[in-house]
Symmetry: C2
Subunit: 121 residues, 2 copies
């Protein structure tokens, strides 16, 4: 598979960073996680402007999902919202989501982010 590669250090100024806080209805948890996994993986693989969509859950409370999202810029984010994989995720998980908070973030130190990505082989 060919990944959509990204030059990160040229872009930090325009980046859109978000930490989404999502609570899932426990009866749908496994189903939700499967759909989110497919959506995040597809976005990272296919969209050059999606730098990261990194989903996690709280170990002590697995219905509490956190997603670190990094987009190259606002245009990349808006284009992501229109993709078939995001639309499929959004419509199929609507009934599973109990609460959703989209929290806009910024780097304290862009250089550290760049070095983290550079460090990993």
């Amino acid at each position: 598979m060919i990944l959509a590669h990204t030059n990160i250090s040229a872009q930090t100024k325009d980046m859109m960073i978000r930490l989404s806080e999502i609570e899932i209805d426990s009866s749908y948890l496994q189903e939700y996680n499967n759909i989110l996994q497919e959506e995040s993986r597809t976005s990272v693989q296919l969209e050059p402007g999606v730098i990261a969509i990194y989903p996690m859950y709280q170990k002590e409370n697995p219905t509490q999902i956190r997603i670190l999202e990094i987009y190259a810029n606002r245009k990349a984010y808006e284009s992501h919202l229109k993709t078939p994989h995001f639309q499929k995720y959004k419509t199929s998980t609507l009934k599973m989501v109990k609460s959703l908070k989209l929290v806009d973030m910024d780097n304290i130190d862009s250089q550290t982010m760049v070095e983290i990505f550079r460090k990993i082989k």
Copy 2:
């Protein structure tokens, strides 16, 4: 500078992932951010077992800090706690921190994390 490189895909099973939630006394905010920046950058540069210490703040409430921390394993985390740069951070910021919550996380999909790191040049 030579970075401490890490092979991420061999390690996902043992990883320790954390999303720290920190509130800072606003009168110390700039000072705190400077110290955190130095600590996170030094940790990523010098410690092979520190995969990521990625500090962010909430745009609408900059005293709310979030740090995504990824350690290769528990041993790497424990060794990090003993480093001079972490000890310096801890002691010099003690009075600046209003609240601190260390939330243990896990990946919903390890493969996505690996692909995010592979994607970036």
